[in-house]
């Protein structure tokens, strides 16, 4: 296992009597997409503000790319990129002028800026928007521009706080393609969202409630723990299911069969379960798999938390 790029221990923030973040422990592996989820007011934005060195914690430790963020908040600035729901662009300036202004802040200029911005402009499809006033950009373009600015200086970690709120379905898909490309190139992405299906584009999901971590696992593991599991409808030729029964059983499936069709379920769709289903299709069965929605996982988690 590689060393984490973000390691958080005992992170706590109190505002007077109110504890916004309560002894949070997180570790984020480099090059992964980390979904940081929680209800409104659960402490997500407060946590991010501490992680990027804008807010001093009451207690705890934060290490980011080898830097102690609490002792040296300024040293993390050139290692991270940040964008929020409200992308900060100067409305009266064109996108190009915003880029030049921002590049100046991170010490990027001349041929190096042209090369970097030229590549981003191409990949993020911002060519048509370059001369537009930032205030006139449609929501989807504005969010892409925000992401381009946040990555201009080659940060090691990207913090994205509800980057797709208010963005239409097409632009959300485009935006997530870009995020996955960044991660594939080695950038670590720390992202919050209320579109819970987006957590399925992530490698890891942490849920917080009232400032405390209540779940912290890969999406598939969260499904296993907090959902009724995968449901599989199988149309089988005669004898098909009987031939595969022992393989299905050892892969963790339970089922109910009626003439010609069977309803299978499994808490998780691991390699063994997939292999057992593959054997069914090889024997001529048609398989239809329903994956539990992460929104339902979240509902279940919150319900369990409120009962406890």
């Amino acid at each position: 296992m590689s060393a984490p790029i973000i390691a958080v221990r005992g992170l706590t923030k109190r505002f007077g009597q109110f504890t916004a973040v309560d002894h949070l422990a997180l570790r984020v592996d480099p090059g992964t997409i980390f979904a940081f989820l929680g209800a409104n007011g659960s402490g997500k934005s407060t946590t991010i503000r501490m992680l990027i060195g804008l807010l001093r914690p009451t207690e705890g430790e934060i290490e980011l790319d080898g830097v102690d963020v609490i002792r040296e908040p300024r040293r993390v600035r050139d290692r991270i990129g940040y964008m929020g729901q409200k992308v900060s662009l100067y409305q009266g300036l064109s996108l190009r002028e915003n880029v030049e202004f921002y590049a100046g802040l991170v010490g990027l200029a001349g041929a190096e800026l042209e090369r970097r911005w030229g590549a981003l402009r191409e990949r993020f499809a911002l060519g048509d928007a370059e001369r537009e006033h930032a205030g006139n950009l449609p929501a989807g373009v504005r969010q892409r521009a925000g992401l381009a600015l946040a990555t201009l200086h080659h940060p090691r970690v990207l913090f994205l706080d509800e980057p797709t709120a208010g963005v239409d379905v097409h632009n959300r898909a485009v935006f997530w393609d870009l995020i996955q490309e960044e991660a594939a190139a080695g950038v670590t992405v720390f992202v919050t969202t209320h579109f819970l299906e987006e957590a399925d584009y992530c490698d890891w999901a942490a849920f917080i409630d009232a400032g405390r971590l209540i779940a912290n696992a890969a999406p598939e593991e969260l499904r296993r723990r907090y959902s009724p599991g995968y449901r599989v409808r199988v149309e089988v030729p005669p004898g098909g299911l009987a031939a595969a029964a022992s393989a299905l059983r050892s892969a963790g499936f339970t089922w109910q069969a009626e003439d010609g069709t069977a309803e299978l379920s499994t808490p998780t769709l691991d390699a063994g379960a997939l292999a057992a289903l593959e054997r069914l299709t090889d024997a001529g069965a048609r398989v239809h798999i329903e994956q539990p929605a992460l929104a339902d996982v979240f509902r279940q988690l919150v319900a369990e938390q409120r009962r406890a």
Binding site: G38, A39, N40, G41, S42, Q85, P138, A139, G140, E162, A165, G166, V167, D168, V169, H170, N171, R172, A173, W176, D177, Q180, H194, F195, L196, E197, D200, Y201, P219, E220, R223, L269, A271, L274, A275, L277, E278, T281, R286, V287, H288, I289, Q291, A293, L294, A295, F298, R299, V302
Partner: protein
């Protein structure tokens, strides 16, 4: 039989902001008590249409009647009869939850007894009951939206217009907001714009706008069956690798990893047929264990409508 005029009757509704045409000839007849989702890409005119229907904009049209009032004339009475929740939270922030409800009641001349009864029910349903004395400005995003909806519902409006009331709201608070809307089902015509696919799917009808015009109006099922797309799922241990490999197939429009599967879109104009696609998916240079044809989902429906009729 009594001929009931439709709640909303628009012909050629136009709205310009300077050079920009926001609504470019909207034709729309809507009546009855139904829950209608207003959907479409960013900048399609959703917010402008809802604001126009609330009587907040000067518009041009051949016909523009809402609840019997002409949008081109005096709309003061219309504004009293419509419940409208704008995109940005607009209630007085220094008034508490209960003060906001009282303030709304006074504007609509609801008597104290009636206010107490309705407010108690709304506070109960929204889970705002423990927070009645909290200033609106100090509520969380989800609670703010529930209060805004409560104030809109308090006068028992004949038409409810909601502009992205759940943007930035968590799933549990969204469920509570939708429970309030479902409770009004059969009582009020509700128009709601939203970007959440599960909310779009639970509307009774969808009004799809693009470039300031109505492109489609129908049930989610009608729109779903109308789009010329096929959807496939390829399950395996590395769905991202499967999606990458699937994109290399000449007829695949889009492929993306979603949890344990790769979701693959193929346009009907280009498909070599389901059997062929499934064979190709099974033979991809990525470990596909199970490939299946899936029903077209809401995401594919909206994406395809956004692409327009010419692929």
């Amino acid at each position: 039989m009594i001929d009931v005029p439709p709640t909303i009757a628009l012909r050629g509704l136009r709205k310009r902001f300077g050079e920009r045409v926001a609504l470019d000839g909207v034709d729309l007849m809507l009546g009855g008590a139904q829950l209608v989702g207003v959907v479409g890409p960013d900048g399609a005119g959703k917010t402008t249409l809802l604001r126009a229907l609330a009587g907040l904009l000067e518009v041009e049209a051949e016909e523009a009647r809402v609840l019997g009032y002409d949008l081109r004339g005096d709309v003061r009475e219309l504004k009293r009869e419509v419940g409208y929740v704008p995109q940005a939270f607009s209630l007085p922030r220094d008034l508490s939850v209960i003060e906001n409800l009282r303030f709304t009641a006074r504007l609509h001349q609801i008597d104290t007894h009636e206010l107490e009864r309705r407010a108690a029910e709304l506070l109960q349903r929204t889970g705002l009951a423990p927070f009645t004395d909290r200033p609106a400005g100090a509520l969380s995003g989800g609670m703010k939206q529930k209060l805004a909806l409560s104030c809109a519902l308090l006068p028992d409006p004949a038409l409810l217009l909601l502009d992205e009331p759940t943007a930035g709201v968590d799933v549990v608070a969204r469920d509570e907001i939708w429970a309030m809307l479902h409770a009004r089902r059969g009582a009020t015509l509700i128009l709601i714009s939203t970007s959440y696919l599960d909310e779009v799917a639970s509307c009774e009808r969808l009004l799809y706008l693009d470039a300031g015009r109505v492109v489609a109006l129908g049930t989610p099922e009608e729109l779903r069956t109308r789009v010329a797309l096929e959807l496939y799922r390829a399950w395996g241990d590395d769905p991202r690798a499967i999606a990458r490999a699937a994109r290399a197939l000449p007829y695949v429009d889009d492929a993306r990893a979603v949890g344990r599967f790769a979701r693959i879109e193929v346009h009907r104009a280009r498909t070599p047929g389901a059997a062929h696609v499934l064979r190709d998916l099974a033979a991809l240079p990525a470990d596909v264990r199970v490939a299946e044809r899936a029903p077209v989902d809401m995401e594919a429906t909206l994406l395809e409508l956004a692409r327009g009729p010419n692929p």
